[in-house]
Symmetry: C2
Subunit: 229 residues, 2 copies
Amino acid sequence: MSNADVTGQARNALPSVPYFSGLDATSLEAVAQAAVRREYKKDEVVSLRGEPCSGLYVVEKGWFKAVRISPEGREQALRFVGPGEVFNEVGVFAGTSNPATVVALERGSVWLIHEDTMLQLLDGHPRLVRSVVEDLARRVLHLASLVEDLSLRTVEARLARLLLERADEAALNRRRWATQAEMAARLGTVLEVLNRALHRLVDEGLIEVERHQIRILDRKGLRAKAMIE
Amino acid sequence: MSNADVTGQARNALPSVPYFSGLDATSLEAVAQAAVRREYKKDEVVSLRGEPCSGLYVVEKGWFKAVRISPEGREQALRFVGPGEVFNEVGVFAGTSNPATVVALERGSVWLIHEDTMLQLLDGHPRLVRSVVEDLARRVLHLASLVEDLSLRTVEARLARLLLERADEAALNRRRWATQAEMAARLGTVLEVLNRALHRLVDEGLIEVERHQIRILDRKGLRAKAMIE
DNA sequence: GGCCGCGTTTGACAAAAGTCGAAGACACCT
DNA sequence: AGGTGTCTTCGACTTTTGTCAAACGCGGCC
């Protein structure tokens, strides 16, 4: 594929990304010119924590996770990122190395934009500034809740919260990669503990677990477990 | 004290705050006009988590802590804030309610700036934008490390890290309000657990605890405990 | 169909963290 | 100097979480 084709693809894909929605045609073109496409297979590492900042990533296709890993190999997921979302912003805007290790959960692709491009773009693009600032503020909010969860709630309560939060209607459809091990990493615990917590909720009749979905039977009961308020 | 006097004070104090260092005279004047001064006694609540966003706070004097509190009353400190620093930015820039409860650790004072003032200021002030964006990115970084700590490290390892991080030279001077209970809240545990961890480090000859300072005897040993790398 | 691999489930156990109750030490106030 | 309240220290105990090892189930592949 020629260079021009790739830029054309970028020109096509980027405007629909919420992050860049406020950009004028000229700037979008500049970003599209500067964007590089990358593809990843399941479990491939996109960026490694501590490495020199590689730039801003925009997800085109597939899902990715950002994690911190302990010396012993335990994993804490910081976030999961899907199509249209952006990651590694923190490294770019704090001017530091990559803030987390990012791994592909399935086959997927991203656009990589060099940090200088982003930093320059910040001047004179008020709508982009708003996007960036709001995005960062929301990330702080999300991490603060994660801290609160880890520090003040049991695994069971965290699980109940997760289920309530992510279940539209009465059921939560699990993606192919959303195994119990991934859920455990998200909640900051291990597979076995999560599994037991899940079954305790089943035994109490609050949820029902099936092949690729979890059904919520008793929202009120879950809320009590979640220790909301 | 008259209104003019108060504004004069603000005009005097704000330019030395790093956050506002990039602002031109006209904008600084606008901020000074809009700033309200507040005083707090020890343990007074400055802003309450979940309440409508009260604006951006700039610390003039004293120390404050931002915390999340569980229904049972356990406390997780998110950060400690001192003179020249800013808090509640996240509520302002995410457009949400107050992200955390903030309490005065000692007698102190702040300047309160209404959120609209800040949001308007963002347009056309590139240096302020840089400050804000970098500040938020650093806050994300800090919380990510806190998450990593809580999830992947024992209390003892967290304590060792805290000591290494905050001990300039070989000693760490504790402020009057830095009791073991506050340290415990910072590390996400309770008084007794922290106390025991502290004494384990003493017994192993890594540190020495005195009235208002902690002396580090063996940096290398501490680093091993901290599980760095 | 039978084998293989991944994800799930289970039990027994170990370790870390949290709770309760109480006593000691110290700093500050009168 | 004595008393009071906060901060610190300690012991015994409970609960929660993590580890290890093994079996099970289901789907895809030869």
